[in-house]
């Protein structure tokens, strides 16, 4: 086991050591993955519905709160449908499509704006590349592709909306990840270590030329089953985003940064194949480049259903 722990820690540190920075708001779908491994198995089809509310009203300069005010507050209400299917016991495909019911910004000078519309389509796969049944330890490489099918270059009245509240990301995103899982106490206690790297392609439409910074994300998830039906989980997540670049391909200073979240989650299983989970993402550490509006919290509710096509 020691060797696996070493591999996991080394990979984690490898990703974390990159010098990168992050931004608060971004076009396109929010991160909906909770860093754990849901469903799985051959001919198992999982479907879930997610509702997510995010609120932001705190400016940060570096790692300190700032008195600066420009956007008074900002929020979004997002919902997505997620599907996954186990083609074999080792290979699983997934898809996600979302919709923004609101993506709003209220300014201190009595103006506001709101965008609604279809988010992006995300397709993905994960493969169980290593399995140690005796030690309940698994490794899964993962890949996800964001396809910009949603609403972009949206105009509100007479003004084209800025990029950060467009529902679609406007370009392809490539997401590479490596997930480690380890179970203890016969599966009662589960740990997941998820390391991922997301590359954002430059947005090049007739009206927009912009590139979001790439994203490096590391998370540690621990879930404990209190009863057969009730699981409590805690996730620690670190997100580094590189600076964005403008139409001249110059880096934009007040973009990018490092945010760390703590995310308690409660999951309840009912009627054997149904799950409902409630998650609260709280950013407890922020180190932003320049002065930026940062997130206060995200609240997510997910309901999911597993369908077994094995005929058991």
């Amino acid at each position: 086991m020691k060797i696996y722990t070493l591999i996991a820690i080394t990979l984690c540190l490898l990703f974390v050591n990159h010098q990168t920075v992050a931004q608060c708001c971004a076009a396109g779908n929010p991160i909906t993955d909770d860093g754990s491994l849901g469903g799985g198995g051959k001919n198992i089809f999982d479907v879930s519905l997610l509702g997510s509310y995010s609120y932001s009203d705190i400016y940060y300069k570096g790692n300190h709160k700032s008195d600066y005010k420009y956007i008074d507050y900002s929020y979004f209400l997002y919902s997505s449908a997620d599907f996954s299917y186990g083609v074999t016991d080792r290979l699983k495909f997934s898809a996600e499509i979302g919709y923004f019911f609101a993506k709003a910004q209220y300014f201190i000078f009595d103006q506001n704006r709101n965008a609604t519309g279809l988010g992006d389509l995300v397709i993905g796969s994960q493969y169980l590349v290593y399995k140690n049944t005796k030690r309940s330890f698994n490794i899964f490489p993962r890949f996800r592709l964001t396809i910009p099918v949603g609403t972009f270059d949206k105009v509100d009245g007479s003004v084209m909306l800025p990029i950060d509240i467009q529902p679609s990301s406007g370009s392809f995103k490539y997401h590479f990840g490596l997930l480690f899982s380890k179970l203890y106490m016969g599966g009662k206690l589960a740990f997941f270590l998820d390391n991922s790297f997301e590359i954002s392609q430059r947005i090049e439409t007739s009206r927009t030329n912009y590139k979001y910074g790439n994203l490096i994300s590391n998370s540690l998830y621990a879930g404990y089953k209190f009863t057969l039906n009730l699981t409590f989980a805690l996730q620690l997540r670190s997100q580094y985003r590189e600076k964005a670049s403008d139409k001249n391909k110059e880096l934009i200073n007040a973009t990018g940064g490092h945010v760390m979240f703590i995310s308690p989650q409660l999951r309840y299983n009912f009627y054997k194949t149904w799950n409902v989970s409630l998650k609260y993402d709280y950013p407890f550490y922020k180190n932003m480049n320049g002065t930026q509006l940062t997130n206060n919290y995200v609240l997510s509710l997910r309901i999911s259903k597993s369908i077994n096509f094995n005929g058991k």
Partner: protein, 122 residues
């Protein structure tokens, strides 16, 4: 029976013509190819933040003009009913030279003009 049928047709005709949507274009308003006469701002440079906006006005001839504004980074808000006057500001992310485009269009065509505003760090 024939009279009833005829009456029905007349009523249907009256309803169909009577319920016709009003044309957006007022009768008698003649349009021509739009031409931007001026695109001006009360300031050529502003400080980042919400307290120091630039007020930009686009004057266009041609009749029945609809305006559309865009900028790569920064925030534009319309100030008047026809959309010809806007307020421009930007946060720290938007420091530098910003090119603002005003696009004016009607049924005869579309024309656009740009103006440069510099967002500065005070």
């Amino acid at each position: 029976m024939r009279l009833a049928f005829l009456s029905l047709i007349i009523i249907a005709f009256v309803c169909a013509t009577g319920c016709k949507k009003e044309s957006k274009q007022e009768p008698g308003v003649e349009t021509s190819v739009p031409k931007i006469v001026s695109l001006t701002s009360d300031k050529t440079s502003i400080n980042f933040g919400g307290d120091d906006p630039a007020i930009i006005t686009c004057v266009c001839t041609g009749g029945e003009i609809s305006y559309e504004w865009e900028v790569d980074l920064g925030d534009i808000f319309v100030l008047n009913e026809d959309g010809s006057k806007v307020r421009f500001t930007g946060s720290e992310c938007c420091i530098g030279e910003k090119v603002i485009t005003c696009k004016a269009s009607n049924d005869k065509g579309t024309i656009s003009e740009t103006i440069i505003i510099v967002i500065e760090n005070p």
